[in-house]
Symmetry: C2
């Protein structure tokens, strides 16, 4: 009888694409014990997913990864529309910004091969001694039916059987053995295993959506062309069909062509073996060369990567099973490449899930917090699919030309304008829930509760050094409490701030209520006070010392000393002379806004989804790991 | 008879402080064979030199090192003056920017321990497989007297005997042997071996200057104080004497106190053993605690680092011997810490020397180019010493109080304003010479020939992506030729640009005249064309293809598509509708400006100090290493 090893892990991640790697690296950083498995032999090396949108770059920044990403990525600032001209060839009808979100910190999209983006997360994991186990596949998954076990914070109720494959490359590393399976008992399992997700199928979660499948050709290559806009994002509507051009790193571009004349059978299958990159590029009906006329398009260097695939717009009917197994990324949503959201949506799923898993595993929050993952990300996915459906329809429909009905350029452009916040990711808005309380929205009129917090420059009170607020809000799993005290040289504001500071530290106050005994005072809540006092007058001693875990936590809203930045933080947030308290969730989204003298509202907000610390089961190591993480950040 | 090993190296650097390490890493990057030795056992770990000024940060940026530096450094944006108030204690009399150079890309100074800064260069060297040999001291240095050997580009005319010491730490690594000396024959030797430079003494170079020595106490510690400006740069003039406060990383500050009551003997020596950190901080006549009254100053955490030293203002009478041995850094100039220039001056010496050595070693230029190192850097050092002398005198002189003659606050502030460009490094200006031709200054009225080139935002023509020009001018040892063609939709300008492109590539034209046969066309000259055409109209095809080594080399001056940056490049440079040609030296300084139709002037400029390629002795490996470097940048 062969022996099957068994082990325990807090989180088992299945799939090491962008969604799985993002989640794993975020959790590993937070001190969570994670294992990641992937069925592939090796990392992907070229091609695959698209670029990152402004919000996704902001998210990378919050993990300290944006600089490395940006140092290698191509930037897309500009886009053009081409439409049929009077002579039948295309002509440029519009030229403008690719990103129209005025508050985007990074006002552009950026492309980098998926392998490089995955490398960011693999390297980040490696810093903490973690790596992907591959090729390993799950062969069985079972969730306990015992309700007590499901509700317990110390149980490992998900049983997964993993099988290690013999890879060609790794063959010599894996000793051949009869029994290459093992059993992993996990607190949580996340299926980030792609559009054909094994986890999703095993959980019997349906994909819901229209069956309108479209077949797309994608090719990455170094073009030879006289199209002047070849280095910007182009949407091309020709009388021969439509395509999109996306600049990539170096001399590469990506070309997306919908192969309208390739048909799938009733089962949504088509014969990929009959197609090649030249079926995407070269002249024939509905191919890129024809669409670009009168501009030339060819290539001499080898094709970097290409694929042809069929896609429908569908969303999973549920993103979790019993709040113990979750799916993320392409496992949850499939859509056309037209919206260019694929990798962004996947990584944002993981960003949303990471802090919730960490909060529950650390026992800061009861498991019910995890329900908001399905709520927030399934809503988003549905919006994404609806958006993609409209966009894809417009894209396929022939453009209106003289004597030819169709979509006008204006219709198309209007549609894009409408969805611009959505496309950049900046405008993604989570609906009201236990973690998104919109009742105080009038207190910060230009901040949208449920959206990511606005960037803005403030000055450190001690030294007038300007800081971008986003740089002070790292994804370290903590809630950020921004106390906008306004003018504390005004006795009325100072009194409110002093009262707040006192209440915060009372035995039943916010800090002691939720922060585990023995943990540092700022383990869960990072308090940042932003006054509005002239930089020349402001002193750290004006801020109640109970609010300052360190002198660096005191800020003011004023113009920087060299006059280049700052001075409009309150105005940009729409916060009055009365000030406000803004709660920023660990993922950088605004959770709630309260009046400066209404800490009770903040306490009430956290009461809904955090666990009073008296109910926490002591777990050794968590506090220490949190300390370690904070030290590293 | 013991055997003494002999070897050859292109450059031997003696001393691995900031000057030596900067030079070594710059040369190693450029593919030059370099050895670096230092007498110290180990790296310094705390304390030592001051922060970096704006220009020095720009220089680091040109080597790709600024991001890493800035991610760790403390920033100083603000400064305050304190002067005696009516009750005898100090009071703040001014608060303002620490950096007053409006064109500084980084409008602040930044502090980091010297060990971390040295670490930047050591890590950079390690990337190329180079490291410091220590503890190793030179014991003999001999320059050939043979004029032919001195003029030859293939000779190794400097003979240095090195002796490896047994270190405590490295003892087990060095096999004890009778003969631990070796002979190195070098093409060039650089003494970056500090204020007591062995190289300088061996060359019998005098230090020239007044004998006014001053004794300074310096201490790095975490202060406990109620001085509100403790986190900004403070100059404190009290009736008890003067001191300066410099914020450092974390909770540390640096305190500089001139110990006016400690006296040196006739030989400029004093008994350091009788002094300690409390002699700098604690209350007694002319100590910091007394100077800060009515503010408190104390400490509880251990002192991080301290020293007491004596310094005079002196400059070496020559910076080189026979253009084969050079001195750099503190070996060339000593001055008080008051100007805060130490490490900045040292690194700038090396930055100035690096490209000249590389150009001569690659045979792009004859050895006479090296004469400009002494010319430019000794002039600078003299200005630095003059500045320091004035500053130090003001600093020591008691401030004027009621009924007490002295320096007024206004006098002091005026002096600072006068020298602000010098202090930030932004205004450092090299005098006219073979490499600095000021005759075309009217063609770019806001650019100062001899100063570092102004930063400015331009858009890449192919995609309207905004770039900071400085990011396009890496310290890769190449000359950057900026062709400001102005509006090339104007036939007059287009004709001038076309003519320039044709002339550039003619057999006797600039490129073929100086670029070695077989080397890539852009080996010596990196050509960047900056038009002034609306981003919506501009096309890469408007630029003569001979000017573009790659499509990324075509730029235009216009506002970025998101409207946040750009659009004032020509205006900020003071270049008219006629355009201009700007030659930027490899170190980022403006070498000359010519009219767009006067390439002859550019040819004439380079004729003065570059070697026509027909005269180059073929040396294998140089072209390949250059290619490698360009590929890496």
């Amino acid at each position: 009888m062969s022996y099957t090893p068994e082990s325990q892990v807090e989180v088992l991640v299945i799939g090491a694409g962008p969604a799985g790697l993002f989640l794993s690296s975020a959790l590993v950083r937070a001190g969570i014990r994670v294992r990641v498995v992937d069925k592939k032999d090796t990392r992907v090396t070229t091609g695959h997913a698209d670029g990152l949108h402004p919000r996704t770059i902001e998210i990378l920044q919050s993990y300290g990864l944006a600089d490395r990403f940006l140092s290698k990525a191509a930037q897309i600032h500009t886009m053009a529309y081409y439409n049929p001209g009077p002579d039948g060839g295309i002509e440029r009808t519009e030229f403008g910004p690719f990103v129209r979100a005025p508050t985007a910190r990074y006002p552009f999209a950026a492309t980098l091969p998926q392998s490089d983006i995955e490398g960011l997360f693999r390297d980040e994991m490696a810093k903490y001694g973690a790596q992907v186990e591959q090729p390993v596949v799950p062969v069985a998954l079972e969730i306990s039916q015992d309700e007590n076990e499901l509700q317990s914070s110390t149980s490992y109720p998900v049983k997964v059987t993993l099988k290690r494959l013999n890879s060609n490359e790794g063959a010599e590393l894996v000793a051949p053995r009869d029994n290459n399976t093992e059993i992993v008992r996990a607190k949580y399992v996340v299926g980030a295993d792609g559009a054909h997700s094994w986890v999703r199928k095993t959980l019997e979660i349906d994909m819901i959506g229209e069956s309108m499948n479209s077949i797309w050709g994608v090719v990455d290559f170094a073009p030879e062309t006289d199209l002047p806009d070849i280095r910007i994002y182009c949407t091309i509507h020709s009388i021969h069909g439509s395509c999109a051009i996306i600049p990539r790193e170096g001399d590469l571009i990506r070309l997306y062509v919908q192969l309208a004349d390739v048909e799938a059978d009733q089962n949504g299958r088509f014969d990929k073996s009959k197609l090649g990159p030249d079926d995407i590029i070269k002249a024939s009906h509905s191919r890129a060369q024809k669409m670009l006329h009168p501009y030339k398009l060819s290539y001499t260097k080898p094709i970097d990567w290409w694929t042809v695939y069929i896609i429908g717009q569908r969303v999973a009917s549920a993103f979790s099973a019993k709040n113990r197994v979750f799916i993320a990324g392409d496992a949850c949503h499939t859509h056309s490449p037209k919206a260019g959201q694929g990798m962004n949506a996947s990584m944002s799923d993981s960003h949303n899930l990471a802090w919730k898993l960490a909060s529950v595993l650390r026992q800061w929050a009861p498991p019910s917090l995890l329900t908001t993952y399905d709520l927030e990300r399934r809503q988003y996915a549905q919006e994404l699919i609806d958006f993609d459906r409209i966009l894809a329809k417009l894209f396929v429909t022939k453009p209106m030309t003289e004597g030819n009905e169709g979509v006008t350029h204006e219709e198309f452009a209007q549609m894009r304008t409408k969805f611009t916040g959505f496309m950049s990711g900046i405008g993604i808005e989570y609906q009201p829930s236990t973690i998104t309380n919109v009742s105080g929205s009038s207190l910060a009129t230009k901040l949208i509760i449920g959206q990511r917090i606005l960037p803005g420059v403030i000055l450190q009170a001690a030294n007038a050094r300007p800081y971008e607020l986003h740089d002070l809000l790292p994804s370290d799993m903590r809630f950020k409490i921004l106390i906008l005290s306004a003018d504390i040289t005004n006795p009325r504001q100072k009194a409110k701030l002093d009262a707040l500071a006192t209440r915060l530290h009372q035995p039943a106050g916010l800090l002691r209520r939720f922060t585990p005994l023995g943990a540092p005072k700022d383990a869960i809540f990072d308090i940042i006070t932003i006054a509005r006092v002239d930089k020349e007058l402001v002193k750290v001693s004006m801020y109640p010392s109970q609010l300052l875990s360190h002198w660096s936590k005191a800020y003011t809203d004023d113009r920087s000393i060299c006059g280049r930045v700052g001075g409009s933080f309150y105005a940009n947030y729409g916060v009055s002379d009365d000030g406000a308290i803004i709660v920023c969730r660990p993922d950088g989204y605004v959770g709630m806004v309260a009046a400066l003298d209404d800490l009770a509202a903040v306490e009430g907000y956290f009461d809904k989804f955090l666990r009073p610390c008296s109910k926490v089961t002591p777990v050794s190591g968590l506090v220490a790991s949190q300390e370690k993480i904070l030290g590293r950040l």
